[in-house]
Symmetry: C2
Subunit: 433 residues, 2 copies
């Protein structure tokens, strides 16, 4: 079931460097539709609707940036107990668009909720009126450009007409492709587990390229489950697992105005009633959510422009979790470290430099550094068995593990990043020109 | 007198993109000697001695890294009131070299102080015995490699033999070249001013390439003055001016284990006695120190590998100085901003992103952004006069100014950086291979 990141980067094993993704199938209570609203010059799907005909419980985490897009503002104001739809558009981030950007979303929410209410009137035995407050928006694309509200509005009838109540792997793929900006691969992941004796599904899709893509590098992640779970439980599970997944990846330390990850539960499964996130019956569900989030987060990292290597940084035996994170990210964000990896150079001095500048407490006499299985620094001294030829050979792998042992406590953190190649600069410097 | 950074980057004015540097002449009380100790495969000066025959008052600032080199440890332990010599070696940083690295310095300090004492016996009317505690060390180069103490020791007689008591521009140039690692240009700057009615000189040399060069990017800066000033006054002046000069430059946020800036006063000028750093007679001296430090810091920034543009980030009307710095450096260190500059793309959305992620408080309705003289964002709205063609044309300059107006207070900070080019990655990925 586990979707291995190594599939992205497996020159050694002669596998193709094309993303493996998982096929998602039907999930009760969700309908998907994707169309082109003509937001790009060249026609492609750019508008994707996730429709929960009987509503969905939900929980979100949003960007920590102090400058946030209009849709994030909108989402933060939603106070409906259930959501009916999530509308995702690409090409335009609706950020720094001022009050007009927000008004556009209001207009869209009115239009979409009205159209969905009409659909319910036709389709359902017990139609309900859908409120604009039940619509969530995700936007990604260029910031500061006028939000194309008219084009999107014009596409809503088409979008609703294409809703099908049975999903298959093709429609999930269409959705995963439709939310992409400059991603090179669609990102889909799934897991199944039991709550009590009831089997439930956790499906996820994401977009983003190592948080670094030209269009502000927005990362979007959406998880869907048929499990019957209250929003309060979803919130705790998402909050806990985001720290070691989407908050553990970094390509260049840049953060978007639009980042969001949301989990939706359609409540169609007949699992036992769960009221508390710490309910032991949730153990496997929790693990599955973590697995899906981690797979998606790794896929986002691995899709960084020009990335040729996936790097896992294990930082252990730290005094505090905060310091473990500081050190991990100091390494993950260091240009000198990332370029050394691109050059397949085991320049561990740069790793030591990144540890030193992290502001975390370091006792050099207790510090050990491993590159893959090879001990380089042992408690402050260069390993007597250090063989640069062997380590250089290891550096040729497409997936590289670093282990940093601070020897000061028992806290740990793992961060994921990629190398930094000329291709990265090429893509980012040439964007828009 | 002011050494303009524009000389580095003046394609527009058809000037050569070669560093202008200033010629330094004789400065009473200092002698310089530079030799090759054979630290590099190819012969070049790699060992530079600054000798103060009558001692020098001094003050230093050292790297903030938690992992520091053995010579920084040594320098931090010096408690002599005056220094007699500064020995600078390149090629080896003496960092992560364990207790042997420190012992090597002890050995060198004994040897050098003995040799200098012998020289005094021969040259001086009132010879004095020089203590190992009067020797300061600066090291720069690869870390984690055995410190080449024997080679250096063997060169000390040669180094001392070459000491001349009268300095000229050639020996200063030899010194500036001798302390370089992968710098592409020597860095020299000077200023003269009066303390009371006495003219004094402030000379400075530096090495470093935008804090980003392969060999851990060590930045070294040395200032020399003939002014008669106590170490306590030098300390306050250095501490104050370092914040807006060497601490205001950033190429990639990486910090070395070996960074240091030291100011030495030979006390040969007959200026009035100064006891307090706030003495009004020091106003012009203070300005001159700032000028020399800023010129050197800008030269270090401009010499970043592959840099094609010099970028000045003025952040004003912030709530606090701390927030002004956070925003300036968030922009200066953002890969997305730096690659946009390399691509001559006025992608102001990336600048807004970098402001947003800085963790400083931002009120978007008060935020204004200027690129050069062009208003882009005015209090949260795209300027009505914004003309992307004009701004794109401005982006073709080799020196670019950004102004960020937070509209929240009266604190300001200016940071200096460069763009990020493919050449940078090429140099850093290919290092050592």
């Amino acid at each position: 079931m586990v979707f291995s990141i190594n599939n992205f980067f497996d020159r050694k094993n002669k596998k193709s460097i094309i993303a493996d993704f998982q096929d998602l199938e039907h999930l009760d209570g969700i309908s998907i539709s994707a169309v082109s609203a003509g937001l790009y010059e060249k026609k492609r799907d750019d508008l994707v609707l996730f429709y929960f005909r009987d509503g969905a419980n939900y929980a979100s985490v949003f960007t920590q940036s102090k400058i946030i897009s209009e849709n994030i503002k909108w989402n933060q104001k939603i106070d409906s107990k259930k959501l009916t739809a999530l509308l995702v558009n690409t090409r335009n981030a609706n950020a720094l668009t001022g009050s007009n950007g927000f008004k556009s979303l209001k207009e869209l929410s009115l239009d979409l909720s009205k159209n969905l209410s009409d659909k319910q009137m036709m389709d359902e035995d017990c139609p309900k009126k859908i409120s604009p407050n039940e619509i969530m928006f995700a936007c990604t694309g260029t910031i500061g450009e006028k939000f194309p509200v008219d084009k999107i509005k014009k596409s809503i009838p088409d979008l609703i007409q294409k809703i099908k109540y049975t999903q298959n792997k093709l429609i999930w793929m269409k959705a995963a492709l439709g939310i992409m900006t400059t991603d090179t691969k669609p990102k889909l992941s799934m897991s199944e587990c039991k709550i009590g004796s009831t089997k439930v599904k956790i499906y996820g899709i994401a977009k983003g390229s190592g948080m670094i893509f030209p269009n502000m590098a927005t990362t979007l992640g959406f998880l869907f489950t048929d499990a019957k779970l209250p929003s309060s439980v979803l919130k705790q599970i998402l909050k806990k697992n985001i720290e070691t997944t989407f908050n553990a990846i970094s390509c260049d330390g840049d953060t978007s105005t639009n980042d969001m990850v949301t989990i939706f539960s359609t409540n169609k499964a007949n699992n036992p009633i769960i009221k508390k996130p710490k309910d032991t019956k949730l153990k496997k569900f929790n693990d599955s959510v973590h697995e899906v989030l981690l797979n998606l987060a790794k896929s986002v990292t691995a899709d960084g422009e020009g990335a040729s290597k996936f790097i896992t940084i294990n930082c252990k035996n730290c005094r505090t979790l905060k310091e473990a994170k500081k050190i991990s990210f100091s390494i993950a964000n260091s240009l000198l470290v990332k370029t050394a990896f691109a050059g397949e150079d085991p320049n561990w001095g740069r790793i030591a430099m990144a540890i030193g500048k992290s502001s975390a407490k370091v006792n050099i006499n207790k510090l050990s550094i491993l590159i893959g299985p090879f001990k380089v620094l042992i408690k402050g001294n260069l390993s007597e068995n250090y063989d640069e030829i062997k380590v250089s050979d290891y550096m040729k792998n497409d997936s590289i593990n670093l282990t940093i042992d601070l020897g000061l406590g028992d806290k740990k953190f793992t961060a994921y990043t990629t190398d930094l190649t000329k291709k990265y600069v090429e893509i980012n410097a040439d964007y828009r020109t």
